[in-house]
Amino acid sequence: MNFQRVLLKMTSILVLALAALSFSAAAQSNPAVLRAAIDQEPTSLNPYYTVQQAAYTFIDLYLLRPWLFTRELQYTPVLVEALPPDVEGGVTQNDAGQTVVRYTIRQDALWSDGTPVTAADFIFPFEVANDGVSAFAVTTFGAVASVEQGATEREVVVTFTSVNPDWFSAGWWPLPEHALREPYNAAIAADAGLNTLDWSLLPTIGNGPFVPVEWQQGSFMRFTRSETFAPQPYFEEVAVSFFPDTTVLRTIVENGEADIVHNFQAGDVIPLLENDNLVIDSQYDSGREAWWFNLGREPHPALTDVRVRRAIAMGIDRQLIVDELLGGLTSVPHSFWSDTPYFNEAIEVIGYDPEGAMALLDEAGWIDADGDGVREASGVEGVEDGLPLNLTVGTTNTPIRIDAVTAAQDMLGEIGVAIELVTYESANWATPFTDGGGFRGGFDDVLHFYGFTAFTSIRPTNWFACNQIPSAENPNGINVTHACYPELDELWNALATTTDLAEREAIADEIQVFMAENVIWIGLWNRPQLTVYGTDLQNVTIGAQSPYISIAEWTRAE
């Protein structure tokens, strides 16, 4: 037998057959299938078992909440006829001083099996959250004392544990109690939780315009049109594929193999800015990238002087960073409430002013006496003369952060401030204080990360709370400035307990003035939530935090 010839023939035939098959024209794509793509796979389709942005991206396809936040930074009713503040008795305070929120579900709100959405569907998640075994990943119900049915089976009454100005936190995702009750009770009898139910893996009963029908982990998810949703969407199906490599993700949308792509980093879409066939939608996600000064854990002595902190803010051309590294797709925040209705226009906005920065540093006693390009202490009280002004900036190994710190390093170098970049693996960043890690347990002079999810309202935060300073006794504290400002603490506490909107706005104004005057936080850029889609998609409105808020209206051009 001519083994050699047979082998060569077999190889040739195989290669040619595969080539012919693979290069043959593909079947026509179905235009009624919306092809979405994202770099991360959702960790769960049950919203109570994830806190991941990628998972939340698709939840509005199949599970609607009573209200949603629009791109105009306003709440809009979804499952309810009207928002609680717009209804008499919608937001009240009971004799015990607890905030009580009432809302009524729309009559035409239906689950995909035709069952009406009722109060029982909102009571059920609260019950599950407190069953001791279901172990939700979210803390939705932390401030909720009780949830009850009101006068009708469609009225929901939520009572918070105390005064809660955030009425909107009473609107969580309902779960189809009628379908889940029986398997849930069986699971509980077996000491198992909601997470063990098939529905948690693939929620095949939903109340949105689509219903999940298939999830091949690591590859794709499919959602088909819900027959009970009105109006019926143009698209029959939404197919979501996962492409972990960003270059491939970009090529996919450029090549027309995806209709809409989510979760891009700003730097990744810069090459797409000139593409006329694509629309790049940018809006804020919930955070602001910023530099947080370490003012309490063996900081560089220069940072205790507000003039030095101000000089650093003046020495960084933040708009240039936004324009060059983020393609101008976002803006520079000047307070936690920048670009929201709650921004205090009266605060001093620190712009790029290297000359002014150098003058401030000179005034503060930091001068470059030896001419090496780095300033040193000269007559600064409590600081040994000659101590160089070199600061470490700690951040995660996220490329855009590294690029931004590197850019700032160059800019600050021009005014005589030396910056050393220290990067941390994401998994080792936010570990408890006792485990080290850059966020809580590090000694870096400045931390670059994002934080504060406040733009949806004037919400309180404990990022600067005195009782949140990380320590061995409080290993998970989140005040990474390691500094206690009692005046600021008091303002944040007041914000947490004041319900009157005008008073709250006044408090927020004071907080912004305090933060601006003391420069304990330098906003670098508002984190953009970027969605890229083809121009053949029409009537598309991307909602803040809810890209698919209006998908029932989307169509495709012929």
Partner: protein
């Protein structure tokens, strides 16, 4: 023979225990899964983080976590509600790897075995064709080299194989995408899909799947080829210089019979070792290729799980591959003895 196999299996079990503890300690040190669960950059607040850690069993010391992973925790009371105290009458539900329970994913809360079972066939679908192609092309090039060593064709083929070896796999993947998916499309030619396993806007036919397999299989084949070609070519040239080959030729045997009968079999024997050592990698998938082509195989599962600090899944994959390595080595040794009568199980040649 039976005694030898039993001894090797016993050694394998001991080795697996040692390897599993080392891997467990390494996997444990990857970082804080809770930080990753909450997207890392927005660190969870104290109570939330503590509750999540307790709920996931991450508050236990390393030796106890390893013990539970090994033999389960259904014999001990657990802290089911995550309040810091064990709950009366509530026992753990894990049976441990020794009783076939690989644990539950920290991220998706699914059994690790299910996650692996979902991905393993996909990886095999990718790896086996590329492996078959590698072996066939390798033998083809080896034969050409044997027939005309140092010829222009031999030089061109081995050089091309070396080029493939010298290029990083991600470059090969992206270059193939650029040419066959992007440029072919721009030129109006039939083109291949960029990535994924199927195009969901088209009927899910075998053709749809194969079109998506071509580029990743080609990438893997190109990158694996050079090592095999070098090995087989050297082996064939070694055999071809033996006296018995000269004898066969001097007897007037046709060249194709000399190659097919007297050269290929002895030259292919060392290949068994190479194949035996590489076979377990079929189970591990191809991390870079699967990531770039968004191919849902074991490599991508491993990488995702590693990034997410999902160490039950990481451990499941590592133990599976480790076990496969031990079994493959045993099978390789046995195959060698079977194919080459000069080799004995007692060690050394007869």
């Amino acid at each position: 023979m039976t005694r030898y196999i039993l001894r090797r299996l016993l050694e394998g079990v001991v080795l697996l225990f040692i390897v599993s503890f080392i891997l467990f300690a390494l996997a444990y040190s990857f970082g804080d899964p809770v930080a990753v669960l909450t997207d890392g950059s927005a660190p969870p607040t104290g109570e939330e983080a503590d509750r999540l850690r307790r709920a996931l069993g991450l508050d236990q010391p390393l030796p106890r976590q390893y013990l539970y992973w090994l033999i389960g925790n259904d014999w001990t009371l657990i802290d089911a509600d995550g309040d810091g105290d064990t709950d009366e009458g509530i026992y753990g539900q894990r049976r441990g790897i020794l009783r076939g329970d690989l644990g539950t994913s920290l991220i998706t809360r699914q059994p690790t075995a299910d996650r692996i079972a979902d991905r393993l066939p996909n990886s095999l679908l990718l790896m086996i064709p590329s492996y078959i192609l590698v072996l066939m092309i390798t033998l083809g090039i080896g034969i050409i080299a044997a027939r005309r060593p140092g010829s222009r064709l031999d030089t061109v083929l081995t050089t091309l194989a070396q080029v493939g070896y010298a290029l990083p796999i991600f470059f090969i993947c992206l270059a193939l995408i650029y040419v066959f998916a992007v440029q072919f499309r721009r030129w109006g030619l039939p083109h291949l899909p960029i990535a994924g396993m199927v195009d969901l806007s088209q009927p899910r036919t075998p053709g749809n799947l194969i079109r998506h397999l071509v580029l990743p299989v080609a990438s893997l084949t190109i990158v694996q080829l050079a090592g095999y070609v070098r090995f087989v070519r050297a082996s064939i040239l070694d055999v071809i210089g033996q006296e018995y080959i000269r004898t066969a030729r001097s007897k007037g045997l046709p060249e194709r019979r000399v190659i097919g009968l007297h050269v290929l079999k002895p030259a292919a024997l060392p290949l068994i070792t190479l194949v035996g050592l590489d076979l377990p990698s079929l189970l591990g998938g191809a991390v870079v290729t699967e990531t770039i082509f968004a191919y849902p195989g074991m490599g991508l599962l491993f990488l995702d799980s590693l990034n997410a600090g999902d160490f039950p899944v990481v451990m499941g994959i590592l133990i599976l591959v480790s076990s496969a390595v031990i079994v493959a080595q045993l099978v390789t040794d046995l195959a060698y003895v079977w194919l080459d009568p000069r080799v004995s199980l007692q060690g050394g040649a007869r």
